[in-house]
């Protein structure tokens, strides 16, 4: 089963128009590469100055599965948050599909996140008071997808991820692995081209972690999603297309597998 079988109605999710018919018009799926240029991030606080990232440069191609590896505190999450435009760099630029993201307004950035990017967090970040299915639907509710299409799509995603029977349950009644599958389903809801995952297996045991990882692997190989995953599990990193090693906020090395 394909994630985008109902492509007719979902096509607009693939076509991102940051300025409503302005000069940026383009179809991301034609060139969804992500590029960072000279990215630096400095945290200023009362306790002092922390340089979390220094002059980071790399490019991720469409459909590529990239892992970001490094010790604790090396700046992996900081980098991933900037890639998802959740945070702004102190210096440097981020291009997604050729667009200089941080030149966009906050509104446009939020819209881009909604349409182009799927987030998966280490601790799932599901909304506990509502059902699994509604959790999965939230990105499409923000995107104003029709409720019928929403229901079809969320159920199909839950089926693909093997948790369709849990659709009407509250997240708290699910195991960690199941909750992470819900989060993955949610990240796929608006058919994004890029998936950003910060230690998605970090809270799971090895076996469940491997299962969740295999799902991501499948998204990349079969459905050609671009995936950037932070991990400090070297075994898992080896199974991705490429690893970017980070130490003290700098790229230490890159390994192509």
């Amino acid at each position: 089963m394909a994630l985008d079988t109902n492509n007719d109605s979902n096509n607009n999710n693939n076509n991102y128009h940051p300025s409503n018919g302005g000069n940026h018009d383009f179809a991301v799926s034609s060139d969804p590469t992500l590029t960072v240029e000279n990215l630096s991030k400095v945290f200023e606080s009362a306790a002092g100055r922390v340089v979390a990232l220094r002059r980071i440069n790399f490019t991720v191609n469409k459909g590529e599965f990239v892992s970001i590896v490094g010790p604790s505190g090396s700046g992996k999450s900081t980098l991933l948050n900037i890639l998802g435009a959740l945070d702004k760099p102190s210096f440097g630029k981020l291009f997604i599909g050729g667009i200089d993201i941080f030149l966009l307004s906050d509104k446009e950035i939020a819209r881009m996140r909604n349409n182009l990017i799927g987030f998966i967090f280490q601790s799932y970040n599901l909304i506990s008071r509502t059902t699994v299915q509604r959790n999965v639907e939230i990105p499409s509710i923000i995107a104003r997808m029709s409720s019928k299409e929403r229901a079809n799509r969320s159920l199909r995603l839950l089926e693909i991820l093997g948790i369709a029977t849990k659709a009407k349950f509250k997240p708290a009644s699910l195991s960690g692995g199941q909750q992470q599958r819900v989060a993955i389903a949610r990240s796929l809801m608006n058919n994004p081209t890029i998936i950003l995952a910060d230690e998605p297996t970090g809270n799971l045991d090895t076996k469940t972690g491997n299962e969740v990882f295999d799902l991501l692997r499948l998204l990349s190989s079969k459905y050609r999603r671009t995936i950037i995953m932070v991990t400090h599990n070297a075994e898992l990193a080896k199974k991705t297309d490429r690893s970017i090693y980070i130490r003290d906020g700098q790229i230490e090395k890159e390994i192509l597998y």
Partner: protein, 419 residues
């Protein structure tokens, strides 16, 4: 961007997620608007009841009272509810009546005796107030006064009594207490000033007239007998209880008041309709303002409750707000979610408060509001209720603004980092 319907669904979900807290907050808003509604209703009926009492008074009348009048309690005298006159030391007798009558701009002086009697009709007896005066002058005091069919004025008949509709047919009673043409025995009880003994004076009267309701409580609760009959039944020996001084026009009321003052100084109680109305307005205005301020304070307390509840919710849901933003929610979406939560609390609180306030007002008016025995029900107007509803809801939204802004301005990374 979320659409309106989804914002309401999501906000409602978060309200029901924290049921107890939401209900308590709704209760806080409810108490405020219920109080406002109840107080407004009672205040309106209060003002209405008082203004009804004095609406039918001719504006050219001055009330002169003697010390005896104060024994009759509130509402006993037509001028009784105004500022209590300083205890007068002058006996209101025929000489004083003539003196006042001779003053310029005075067209008439109506003297009255007052007292309480037991009325016996067949086997039943009731206590009623006597207004002893020239029955022909009733129309001067209450220009709108009307009699029922079959009534006759017999001003010189000392056995004739004219009774108010409420006396003849006491409200709530199945059968009339007095009917036209019947005879009834009036008994006045008093303490003999020389012997100190309890004594009674009785006389039979015939009901010759029934006065339709006038809106003037003195007349509406009175039995009118002429001066001769009043003087002997109530043992007054020519000492009047109160005088109605009729000025030629209402413009002369102040002049006449000054004239009487210059004659008798502070030894006489003078009340004018103008002064009464002014006092009533001040009095009801103050009471309403006081009650309203209590209600407003409790509404503000409700608003503070909303601020606290939403502020707590923002803290609790910081991570969720971060997640929503990561998923693509706009700042305006987050703002709307919390504002609508405040709005829903306001709508629930105000609506329940409205209904509770109506009931509460009826309960309060039955116990608290002073009336002439009969309780006046609160008056609720659609306008007042709509106003209170909108004030409550509006205040709730205003209370939601600060927490909602705080939530919408959270930076996604920081929100996600919080545990």
């Amino acid at each position: 961007m979320l659409n309106i319907k989804e914002i309401f669904i999501l906000s409602f979900e978060s309200l029901t997620d924290r049921k107890v807290r939401s209900i308590l907050t709704i209760l806080m808003v409810m108490v405020g608007s219920a109080l406002l509604i109840a107080v407004g209703g009672i205040g309106a009926s209060f003002t209405d009841a008082f203004s009804k009492q004095f609406r039918n008074l001719a504006p050219n009348i001055l009330f002169i009272s003697s010390s005896q009048q104060s024994q009759q309690g509130p509402g006993g005298g037509v001028g009784g509810a105004g500022t209590p006159p300083p205890a007068p030391k002058i006996t209101l007798n025929a000489a004083i009546v003539n003196r006042i009558h001779s003053l310029p701009f005075v067209s008439d002086v109506i003297s009255t005796y007052r007292g309480s009697v037991t009325v016996q009709s067949q086997s039943e007896s009731k206590t009623d107030s006597i207004l002893s005066m020239d029955p022909q002058k009733l129309l001067v005091i209450a220009p709108t006064l009307e009699y029922t069919d079959g009534s006759t004025l017999q001003p010189n008949n000392p056995s004739s009594m004219i009774v108010a509709q409420n006396v003849a047919n006491p409200p709530g009673d199945a059968n009339p207490f007095l009917v036209l043409g019947q005879s009834a025995k009036l008994t006045y009880s008093f303490v003999d000033s020389t012997t100190g003994q309890q004594k009674e004076e009785s006389k039979n009267f015939i009901v010759t007239g029934i006065i339709k309701e006038t809106g003037n409580p003195t007349i509406d609760s009175a039995i009118v007998i002429n001066l001769q009959a009043g003087n002997s039944l109530l043992q007054k020996s020519g000492k009047f209880d109160s005088l109605f001084v009729i000025a030629q026009t209402s413009n002369f009321v102040d002049v006449v008041e000054q004239e009487i003052r210059s004659l008798y100084g502070n030894n006489i109680g003078i009340t004018t309709v103008k002064a009464i109305l002014k006092t009533i307005e001040q009095f009801t205005g103050q009471i309403n303002a006081f009650l309203n301020s209590i209600a407003i304070i409790s509404l503000v307390v409700g608003a503070v409750g909303i601020i606290t509840t939403l502020y707590t919710a923002v803290i609790e849901r910081t991570r969720e707000i971060g997640t929503l933003k990561a998923i693509g929610a706009q700042n305006s979406d987050i703002l709307a979610l919390f504002l609508v939560e405040a709005l829903l609390i306001g709508i629930f609180g105000a609506t329940i408060g409205l209904l509770a306030g109506i009931g509460f007002g009826y309960g309060l008016s039955a116990t608290v509001v002073p009336g002439n025995g009969s309780s006046s029900p609160p008056i609720y107007t659609a306008n007042d209720m709509a106003r209170v509803w909108m004030i409550s809801v509006g205040l709730s939204i205003v209370a939601g603004v600060v927490p909602a802004l705080q939530a919408s301005r959270l930076l996604p990374v920081q929100a996600l980092r919080s545990q």
